[in-house]
């Protein structure tokens, strides 16, 4: 049995390989999934841009290759069609959620996505924080990132409302959906408040946090959000240990501790297993946004169940169709290693089918097992899963990405404007100063 370190190293390396295998080297765009004809997800490009510096540091990629990969993507976005037409790449500095991997044009009539643009830009900022050499390429890289960040009109995305809208389409304008309750959007708000050119206005962040729910569930006090990934995505880039906005200050907690408790709540739910699904226990859990079986089909007890396909599964109200996401559990590693490592090892051992090419598939469903007892498993791999796994393993092993991004001016500024104080955000104490 490999040591924890060896296990994590192999999972992290395999996750990184996803990006190498699915990137289009001509434009730096990365496929959403490893399946045939997958479009690009701009968020996955953000994770790819974050992964290259890690790979350089770990010796998995030459620095020059990493710079070229990053430059290809950044140049593509700088030169992309920003007209907002139905076949453009973006508008107002934002980008459509899904793009053609060859042309970069919008596909699937997807929305101009605020959160996915934020994930893309977070990746770009990671690259600019790492590639700081005074070489022509790295100077260009930093200039591109600065340009892309400054171009985003976050204020426009408020649509004169209190909070940031989730999406926009050329066919109908802003989408109806809004953000309510705690979500992965904390990164979006931080980047939108840190903008030197088009920051969001007024009490936007406070209006969003006014929809938070602080709950005591299964004996844990935490800021409630059902799907596990919500407790991870912003944390990939931002070290929330010891820093507090007014909400967390009042609750005497922080977002890092909150993610730890969210992992425990997830485990507790699986132990209770209210819908009596196969496999659920203290070492097999993880309800999150993931792929899933989608057709009505007979399960082992020959009873039809509702299946949800790709959905944001959550705890404790579901939807829950017996589908679990191992990558989401692994991504809780920095917060709760004492329960995550046991769960990861258990899931690998009990359901080895969930691991192909050393990478976890998006999800598995032991209730929908075949005649040989093998669980339903999601085909191929998802870029979002591999990106968050890679970053969270790194943050667990070294805290390196967190350390790198602590110095990012726009993140510091955004956190400050959101009211975050304390911890590493305090100005450094200068020796001898009063």
């Amino acid at each position: 049995m490999p040591t924890d370190e060896a296990l994590l190293d192999s999972l992290q390396r395999a996750a990184f390989d996803y990006f190498l295998r699915t990137v289009n080297p001509l434009n730096g765009l990365v496929a959403d999934t490893s399946r045939d004809n997958s479009p690009v997800s701009i968020a996955v490009v953000g994770f790819a841009l974050s992964s290259y510096p890690v790979a350089v540091e770990r010796g998995w990629m030459a620095r020059s290759d990493a710079v070229q990969c990053s430059l290809a993507a950044l140049r593509f976005f700088r030169n992309s069609d920003q007209s907002g037409s139905p076949t453009a790449t973006g508008f107002k500095g934002f980008y459509y959620h899904f793009l053609d991997i060859h042309t970069g044009a919008r596909v699937w009539r997807s929305e101009l996505s605020m959160i996915d643009t934020a994930l893309l830009i977070a990746g770009a900022l990671t690259a600019s924080m790492y590639f700081t050499a005074e070489t022509a390429d790295e100077i260009e890289l930093r200039g591109l990132v600065d340009f892309l960040y400054r171009r985003i009109d976050w204020h426009w995305a408020q649509d004169d409302g209190e909070t940031i809208r989730q999406g926009w389409k050329p066919e109908c304008g802003f989408l109806h959906y809004g953000w309510e309750g705690y979500s992965e959007a904390i990164l979006l708000y931080v980047l939108a408040m840190g903008s030197p050119t088009h920051p969001i206005k007024g009490g936007c962040y406070q209006a969003w946090t006014a929809t938070y729910q602080w709950e005591n569930l299964y004996g844990h006090d935490y800021l409630y959000a059902g799907p596990l990934f919500v407790h991870h995505f912003s944390h990939a880039w931002i070290d929330f240990r010891g820093i507090h906005d007014s909400f967390m200050h009042e609750k005497r907690s922080d977002y890092f501790e909150n993610s730890r408790r969210a992992a425990y709540v997830q485990r507790e739910y699986a132990q209770r297993n209210p819908h009596e699904f196969a496999g659920y226990d203290e070492n097999c859990w993880g309800l999150s946004a993931c792929d899933g079986p989608s057709d009505e089909q007979a399960d082992v007890s020959n009873e039809t169940r509702r299946l949800f396909g790709y959905a944001a599964r959550g705890v404790p109200y579901g939807p829950d169709d017996g589908t679990l996401s191992a990558p989401s559990v692994l991504s809780s590693l920095p917060f709760a290693p004492e329960i995550v490592l046991d769960a990861v090892r258990n899931m690998m051992e009990r359901y080895p089918q969930t691991l192909t090419e050393g990478r976890f598939c998006s999800s598995f469903n032991p209730t929908l097992a075949d005649a040989d007892g093998r669980p339903w498993t999601s085909a191929g791999h998802y870029g979002l899963d591999q990106g968050i796994v890679l970053m969270m393993i790194e943050n667990h092993r070294t805290g390196w990405i967190w350390q790198l991004m602590r110095s990012c001016p726009c993140i510091r500024s955004g956190l400050h404007h959101a009211g975050f104080r304390g911890g590493w955000l305090q100005p450094p104490c200068i020796h001898g100063a009063r």
Binding site: R109, K169, E171, C172, L175, H176, Y177, G178, E180, G181, T209, A210, T211, Y212, Q213, W214, E215, N216, L217, G219, D221, Y224, E250, K251, R272, P274, E303, R306, P316, Y317, G318, P319
Partner: protein, 510 residues
């Protein structure tokens, strides 16, 4: 007058309907000779008007009660009573189809006899109308008048050709369904709560416009009777003011029932072709047209202020918002009060009744009872039911009240599990670091009954610590409330207190 659609549905004239009308609007009723003056004249004999009349008469006042149409108002005739009766039968059908879930056999042939369902509605409504009968109110000492009330001065009104002078009056004329202004809707015809209970045949395909309480309840009921139901709501979730989890659970329940759920969707046009109604829907950039046989609207209610000549009475009102009242329910005329749906934001029967009692105290006995002091619960009687009382978390946050929620999923409650009714939750919101209850939301099959305990606690100022001491009969679903209180108590056992307890036990245990 309520707006008419072009497909009026005739009331079925059967023995039950004759009996109901004999109670709530007797055909041969002779209005009494008015007294010289009344201490209280009440316009409108819905729940608020009846409560005001009963209370004032019991306290010895000379009271006149005027009703234009049917005593009992919306609640008895076209609201709570018929809808809850209908919902009960629809639950039975849902349970029959779900029989294997309980280890029972699904009946071989589940056929819905919709005419029988509606006959039961008429029978039960007729039975309950006895409590609201004109004769019973007369026997209590109330002068009951049928006819159109019209103010002619600040202390006088007419009913048909009779003049009634009053010291005080209360307007309790209620509200009527609001018909949305969708092109083609009036021409195509639509149902509202005013006429849906007159149906004797089940529409094969039904569109419900509006995801408020009425739309949600009836969409689910008609679906369970076998209609192909589409419900359209222009917001991201149903029941706009309820919390997200509650509304999400309801959406999931609708989809499980087989309702076509269309959120974030607008109905933009309706036309009739070949006897069916074609409805154009738009959800962001997706447009489609569905064909239905009937349309039910449930998008709010309009207060009944027309025809009363309120200007002559010096009573301020706004056409959409109803009569303006202060916190004591007094209108701009100090002799005239209002109660119930015509003036309240919370348009519920229970609130109408309580507001009427406040009016009697304030109008006749110089009371200073305030509307704002009421703790008002409400419930949407879908399956599961969604009940709420007090503040929502977002309201507390906006008022900068630190709030913490104790959540008990119903799957943790033995009785919910034994009954296979474990979807839902009890959430009790308290002021942070205290046990003071600010509000609660309950989603459960019997949430409407369960919320009363929280309302009692809030009215009586009882906190979660005390609720934890209340023995709840086991096994009942209301135990979820005690478990929430227990969870609160556990949070008081901080590590510091626990270690002190341990030290004490070591010292004091022989």
């Amino acid at each position: 007058m309520p707006p008419q659609n072009n497909v009026p549905i005739a009331t079925l004239q059967d023995a039950y309907e004759h009996a109901r009308l004999a109670n709530v609007h007797p055909a041969a009723w002779q209005n009494p000779k008015p007294a010289d003056w009344y201490q209280l004249v009440i316009v409108g004999a819905g729940p608020a008007g009846i409560a005001a009349a009963e209370t004032a008469a019991a306290l010895g006042a000379r009271v006149a009660l005027i009703e234009r149409h049917l005593i009992g108002g919306t609640c008895l005739n076209t609201g709570c009573v018929p809808s809850k009766t209908l919902i009960r039968t629809s639950r039975l059908y849902a349970d029959m189809r779900n029989a294997t879930h309980y280890g029972a056999q699904i009946p071989d042939d589940i056929r819905v006899d919709f005419a029988a369902v509606m006959e039961r509605v008429r029978r039960i409504r007729s039975h309950l109308s006895r409590g609201d009968s004109a004769r019973r109110l007369t026997a209590l000492g109330v002068d009951v008048f049928f006819g159109n009330a019209c103010f002619t001065g600040t202390d006088v009104l007419t009913v048909n050709d009779k003049t009634l002078h009053f010291k005080k009056a209360v307007i309790a004329t209620g509200a009527r369904p609001h018909i949305p202004s969708i092109p083609g809707l009036r021409e195509a015809g639509c149902l509202t709560n005013a006429d849906v209970f007159k149906l004797t045949e089940l529409p094969r395909r039904l569109l419900v416009i509006g995801g408020g309480p009425l739309g949600c309840e009836l969409a689910q009921a008609f679906c369970r009777f076998g209609a192909q139901v589409t419900i359209v709501q222009d917001m991201p979730l149903f029941l706009g003011k309820e919390e997200r989890d509650a509304a999400q659970i309801l959406s999931d329940a609708f989809e499980r029932d087989g309702i076509e759920v269309r959120l974030n969707t607008d109905v933009v046009a309706i036309r009739v072709e070949n006897g069916q109604k074609l409805v154009d829907l738009v959800s962001d950039d997706y447009r489609n047209t569905i064909a239905v046989d009937a349309i039910l609207t449930g998008v709010g209610r309009t207060p009944n202020v027309e025809g009363l000549n309120l200007e002559a009475a010096g009573v301020d009102y706004a056409a959409g918002d109803g009569i303006r009242v202060d916190d004591f329910l007094c209108t701009s005329n100090p002799h005239i009060y209002a109660a119930g749906d015509v003036c309240l934001t919370y348009q519920y029967t229970d609130t109408a009744t309580v507001s009427a009692r406040i009016v009697v105290q304030n109008a006749l006995f110089h009371g200073r009872e305030r509307l704002s002091a009421l703790v008002i619960p409400w419930c949407t009687f879908t399956d599961p039911e969604i009940a709420h009382v007090g503040l929502y978390v977002r309201e507390a946050n906006r008022q900068h009240i630190p709030v913490k929620t104790f959540t008990i999923p119903m799957h943790d409650i033995d009785r919910a599990v034994t009954d296979s009714e474990d979807g839902g939750f009890v959430k009790i919101h308290v002021r942070e670091r205290t046990d003071q209850i600010l509000g609660a939301t309950i989603v459960a099959r019997h949430a409407g009954d369960m919320i009363n305990e929280i309302t009692l606690a809030m009215v009586a100022g009882i906190g979660l610590r005390t609720l934890a001491r209340v023995i709840h009969a086991y096994p009942t679903q209301a135990e979820a409330i005690r478990q929430a209180a227990d969870a609160y108590n556990r949070t008081r056992l901080t590590p510091r207190i626990q270690s002190r307890l341990r030290r004490w036990l070591i010292r004091n245990t022989p």
